[in-house]
Amino acid sequence: MTKEYLPTIGIECHVQLCTKTKLFSEVDNDARLKEPNSCVSPVDYALPGMLPRLNSEAIRLSVLAGFALNAEINLESRFDRKHYFYPDLPKGYQITQMYHPIIGAGYVELPSGQKVRIEHAHLEEDAGKLSHEASYSLVDLNRAGTPLVEIVSQPDMHSAAEAREYTKELWRVMTYAGVTFGDLYNGNMRFDVNISVAETGSDQLGTRTEVKNLNSFRNVERVVEYEVKRQIELLEKGEKVIQETRGWNDATGETTGQRSKEEAADYRYMPEPDIPPVRLTEAEINEMRAEFPKMPKDYRADLTTVIGAGQTETLLDYQPLVQKLDELGDTKAVKKIANLFSSVLLAEENTSLLNDELPSKEQLLELVRMNDNKELSSTATKEVFLKFFDPEMHYKDTLTIAKELGVLQENDLGALEAIVDAVLAQPATKQAQDDFRSGQEKVLGFLVGQVMKESKGKANPSAVQDILRKKLQ
């Protein structure tokens, strides 16, 4: 008989903060598209006598990250040295917060409502980047000293799907809070995943393995799937899981054991004497809290009842879109605009528009009103919506754009009747009129088409139909 196993997963996440300068030196923290070793200072090179100078903005962003994690902010935090010898950090130690982290216990609420507890989160400096050639390695110190918040979760997840959901929600709350650019491709958020399995019902956790440095939600999910399967297979064979760090191979979709020196790490933590403690006041923290933006879970509560869970989750990946929906205030408008966001903006050919400024609340509400009043057909509504992103049109009001596009529907019954009469007077439509009177419903379509043509597409087709039926009785 097969045993049942319960996976247990804990995740550490490194979030690069979007400060202008590094954590301890006054050089550019944004090294994207820059030459290696071009954003560096004597502090990053650890030249003798160089002293770290703490970036106040990193403290502020850490506090915001703490709010995003529903966590307690520790009024006093301190820095420590974590020693290790590796070429990615010339000092020979990393400045981190081992004993007095700035962020205390908190939690992240997943879309399902499940809460993943956060043990703590601390501020530290990133290391440089190594690239490995066949017989040597190359060091780029652009990243050395970038501020990181490391978020340590409790082992509260029990499936690959939950692990993925957690990492994704973490990405959302961190980007909503504005503490990171959240560019996963460029390593703005990196995940270390701890995985173990134990027989269901066991009160002890199994031996865990750790897979470091994953930079996508999908890979977190794949790693957990792979490791859980591998560990269960070992246990089924009566073998043991070895506690180790394993590397993920994206191409093969497998993890492999890494015999690294780090296993026997001896970090010799000691207080960092170069950086005096950070002490915040309740008043400062309350001030920051007052300006803290809405989080995904706040929007989720409101949106799900209006547009359903599926569409809500899709749109929640785009903070500006849900912010805009929230601004609209009117349920019916939210529904229509949410549909336009999903069907037009998120369509593959238009995703570049997501970088542009969104239409104003007024433009959108007017668009909804005109669509409701049948002044704009659904096609015309989309057309006008797209024009909101045209730099030439962006500042114009909805009615003006609709007029310039010539897509206003003719709803004036008097004017429509005149067009219908003109069409019915054409000899070419005589046959169709007779056919309709003798009971051939479908020729009505032809007649509506003629009227539409005559109106240059601006007539409201359902109004035209009504008028035709009346006239052909």
């Binding site: 106040s56 010898f85 020196k261 005096p276």
Partner: protein, 95 residues
Amino acid sequence: MEVNQETIQHLAELSNFALSESESAGLQSNIQEILTYISELNQLDTEGIEPTYQVFEMENIWRPDEIMKQDASPDELLSLTETVEKHQIKVPKVL
């Protein structure tokens, strides 16, 4: 604490030093002497006392988040290293 050759080898490994046997022996006695001297401090009762982070009682020493010109340019800094390739620091293979 007794310092033996194992301790010295461990420390050497952590610091990435290759030590000859004679160096290793010399360090053993040197470090042993330093530790014995420092161990006088062990007479103090430090129960419940937080480690000292700094002695000036300063707090919140921080700077604004502004890019400043550095005393040494990136190229000057890079030129301090032994071997440069592709504008990077070439080091022995580490993985």
